[in-house]
Subunit: 364 residues, 4 copies
């Protein structure tokens, strides 16, 4: 099999994520140096695949990008070839353009396709695999909510960014005897909130997996104040849910998906906490700052390993698979297992237990 | 005169600011080591002065705080002894408690008072000076809008934090072909927006001093897109003003002062830009992250110089003065000159001109 | 069993390591909050155990230390109670003071001892365990060379510091067409060099586990220059070995252990590379910068989990054990398995293979 | 005059320095956008000028380089066209190639030359100016030892890097009760040592401008230890001088200029301090890490202003001048005034006085 592969394609799909360039670099270098392949870069994710916007990749093109955020290939998080938005006579309709993609790949002689993406992009990759395209996936998401891998690349960088913000808020909270709220990403899973909250010394962490009781949060903050700790740091995942109040909060979260709208849940909880504690409260919404910037050392290593292993997987014919970290090894696991279900924080797991042991409240 | 001073007090007033601890440390060390004085720390700013909450400072207490954000003395940005809020029979009334402060200082034998604060705190300091209290000021504000000094401490740190956020947004904007908006502090002066915008490679900077025309901002972003730069970074000071539309924007800004309310102007402009350019837009509101965290090297040096010079000024009897940087020297200047008028960005000055030369639009 | 434990001790031994304070904090908080124990801090590692220098720990004492480097308990990397250096009549002799330690622990009513340390300190802990002291270990070393755990705390921080240095050297190497050498810690294992080298985009990585041939290193650098990459970044672990030249290099390394002597191997290889390539070469020896500073987010989380789990292990009576990360779980493993053999880089493992795939030479 | 200038050249000379790319970017953008000029980039400094290695610059080429260390134009710190090293029949001789440079500039129609460099490169620039070449200089050096400007770009970044190293060493020094020595750049001027020492909370700073008495340094460290501060941080500029011992130390410094030789003065003083205090001592030599990496926000702003003002100066015909910061303005000052004499730290100036006030010893 190995001998037959001559040319592979690579694309990045979905939201921006620190480490994308490091993966691209490793794919290109491994393909050229180890296997003597040609590599075609597909521009702007599946949009480029549909519209045949591609260019040959060289070692020169990936020089110096290891530490850079973003993706030199570009990405979109809208375009799905199987349900491709087309404007016709002023109407937006959806068409299946997957055959066009397959045709583009065939015409260019691409024998293997590396899809770097999260749940959405990898699901599209799986559909292409089922139609006979030799796809290998690389698990990307700052949210870390992909099953089948210990961790996704980009997560450590997002946690680091949020932790730095918490370090900064800490000193200000303490000086002013205030409640400081940091709203971080995480609609369906609270990994960023949990990890940055533990690392940043938060007093309260609110995540989708553990519906919270606002009265308990207030009690916790007041109890701290009575013991002389007259400030509190609260980290809130954008998908956090109030007990018995899911409907209301969900609506708020839905709004916060709207491009420029801000601060659904952080602002809402902030107002309530200010009322029930009588303490001044301030809210920061980190937003896309979490998606950008230079990846951490750990993410650069993981990205390099993923990218390199993805090409190995292509050469071993492991199509329909995704590279995954099963510490300390990188394995190839079926995409089928990886997509469709979000990996969530275990409310009874060790990390939540440790967090509670050091005095963090989850409002439960 | 010098021989008569035995004991000085020090307080921090107003909003949190990186470098406060470095100033406190320098005041305490200089007073003890160079002049053999006693130092009394006044807790929580003017609140502690009114209520006589003070404690003796030692070198031990200021060990290891040079690089730490916040203030070990605590601060509030509400309490004005000359107009002190008191609740009486359920009613909030304002009383003059300045005599009580003076009595507290006299009873404790405090011969000199170092007030570390911004325009508000220094104005209070000036009032006390006029009543005979030997006050020396230290100019603090992340906004850099104090007259009479080249720069305030805390400003470089705030600019650095905002610049780091811009670095992160840059890669994401580029990967996604988006408009990324960063709303930074600055109600009356656009220094943080201007400096971080230039340092962070912004494409548009909107500041209070240069009312903007939204149509010109849209044109600028569209012109970039046509030249192949399909993303734009926009930095907005919270006090930015639309030409001829001040009233509306002002109202929005007013709301954003409300404790937990967020994203007045950033969100508002973001929605308009998305409409007029048709490009996806995302907004980040940095908020109090700008006030916290470890001060930059430059701010630690400036703070150390200010703190040390403030004690020198006390010993030289320069009361009613504020230490100020007139590069390369630290001088003592009358508080009267320093307070009352905000130092604003000169729309025709060199920095704005240089920013325009490298292609930044101010929407004018 | 659990009901009987009332008071535990905690000490930090060996070289400084980012995350020590985070472990101490988690031990103290978990013990007090979850189990209502008393905690005694033993000062300056085993030195304090021998000399009975201890103090009660409170939540107050560990407030605000999560993000701080160093250890509030102090540490030494010399004192072994089983072979304790004593000066007698001008002669240095070694005595067994372990009984004195045991007596100190008994008299103070310490029912469990948490030893935070590397191979040396944990070996001492194991010896105490064999003498009946209820010891639980926490695996600490920036070198990551402890068996039985996926990773030690402090390692990620050291890698991050070295990677930041490489990022800085990169731009300078490129501008000047130079060879830049960074010597990092790692006498017996090359983990820091390997990880930071991959993360920092090194061209050559030299580690103890893969003896290098200097001629091959020169060839690699020259080949790069011929392809237009007129600079190279070389990361060298202090214990790197030249093929067939171990004796000489060993001697050099031995010297570099000498307190203030510097740059054994980095300098030696630098001179040789300059000669064989004709390219200007510069050497940086990071030294103890790698041991200090605020721990990364990942290390703070790991340290918090370790510290909390160590107290759990004490309460579960798992003495003679060490907490260890077996991703994603923290387990207790016998100290016997953990100490004595260094965990080394596998020359044929996945990470080295990935590093070679992206073009890094190990000189083999 | 302005109308006649059509094409300018730009080169970077001397050692690498954070901010070089930011200056280049500002020169190119200002020339193209504001004045509609062509810009020619001269590769590898004066080497490229002699050998006519040049290429046209576009806005595209300088996109995304604002925050990047190094120089996209390359640099050398050896090549002087007026004394150009040539190998002839195995002998190294020096020739004057300045006419060749002038011819290259004329043939390419370059009407103005922006030289970005330190004392050496600007002196060459001045010589060319005297021969009729229209030169404008931009003051670059991490050492900040250029007269005629308040500050050079690159200095703040170098200070920041050294301060970060000190922050890391601090925690380790404290945990281990050690003396930690950091050797930083600065052969003739101690600016980096002074500023980073003040910012990093050093206990001792040794600089060329203040010859030190080792006995006084030992006394200071011992006095600290007696007061319970059992560690000390010592920052040493590579050109620091012992009182009455200049000859010896000078020799050592001279050796440290040798490409790969390391740790002249830091190591030497470390050994002596270890002996006289009996405290463990460790030495770090930061080396070229100080020259690399992303420039600070302040340096990016200053670089942008310098680059833009340099083109303004060209258009105003201010040849033989250098742009300089006279806070808050950028002016053009005669190169004659700027070169030849190093700006040194004033031993009796305010910053040294403030440093002493907070307890820092200079060994005098």
């Amino acid at each position: 099999m190995e001998g037959q592969i001559k040319r592979i394609g690579v694309l990045t799909g979905g939201g921006d994520c620190p480490g994308l360039n490091a993966v691209i670099r490793a794919v290109v270098k491994t393909a050229i140096r180890r296997y003597n392949l040609e590599v075609i870069g597909i521009i702007d994710g599946f949009y480029g695949l549909v519209n045949d916007i591609m260019e040959p990749m060289t070692e020169e093109k990936v020089a110096g990008i290891l530490h850079r955020g973003g993706t030199i290939l570009g990405t979109t998080n809208r375009d799905n070839p199987f349900r491709y938005a087309v404007e016709k006579e002023g109407q937006l309709t959806f068409e299946d353009r997957s055959e066009q993609c397959i045709e583009n790949l065939r015409r260019r002689g691409i024998d293997g396709l590396v899809v770097i993406g999260g749940d959405g992009s990898l699901s599209i990759g799986l559909e292409f695999h089922k139609k006979g395209i030799p796809v290998v996936g690389v698990p990307k998401t700052i949210d870390n909510d992909l099953s089948a891998t210990d961790v996704t690349f980009g997560f450590d960088s997002a946690v680091t960014t949020a932790t730095e913000a918490l370090d900064r808020l800490h000193t200000t909270a303490e000086s002013h005897h205030r409640i400081m709220i940091l709203e971080v990403m995480g609609r369906y899973a609270g990994w960023i909130a949990l990890y940055s909250g533990v690392a940043g010394g938060a007093d309260v962490i609110l995540i989708p997996e553990i519906p919270f009781d606002l009265a308990k949060v207030c009690d916790h903050i007041r109890a701290r104040a009575e013991k002389g700790r007259k400030f509190s740091i609260v980290v809130i995942a954008e998908g956090a849910k109030e007990m018995g109040g899911e409907m209301v909060v969900q609506k708020m979260v839905a709004q916060s998906h709207d491009p420029v709208r801000l601060g659904g849940i952080g602002q809402s909880i902030g107002q309530k906490l200010e009322m029930c504690t009588g303490m001044e409260t301030r809210v920061t919404v980190l937003g896309h700052v979490q998606r950008g910037g230079s990846p951490t050392a750990q993410d650069r290593i993981l990205s390099t390993r993923y990218g390199s292993a993805a090409v190995d997987a292509v050469m071993e014919g492991k199509f329909g698979h995704m590279v995954a970290l099963r510490t300390p090894k990188i394995l190839a696991v079926p995409l089928q297992e990886a997509v469709g279900t979000a990996k969530q924080v275990n409310p009874d797991g060790q990390i939540v237990k440790a967090a509670k042991s050091v005095g963090i409240s989850f409002g439960d």
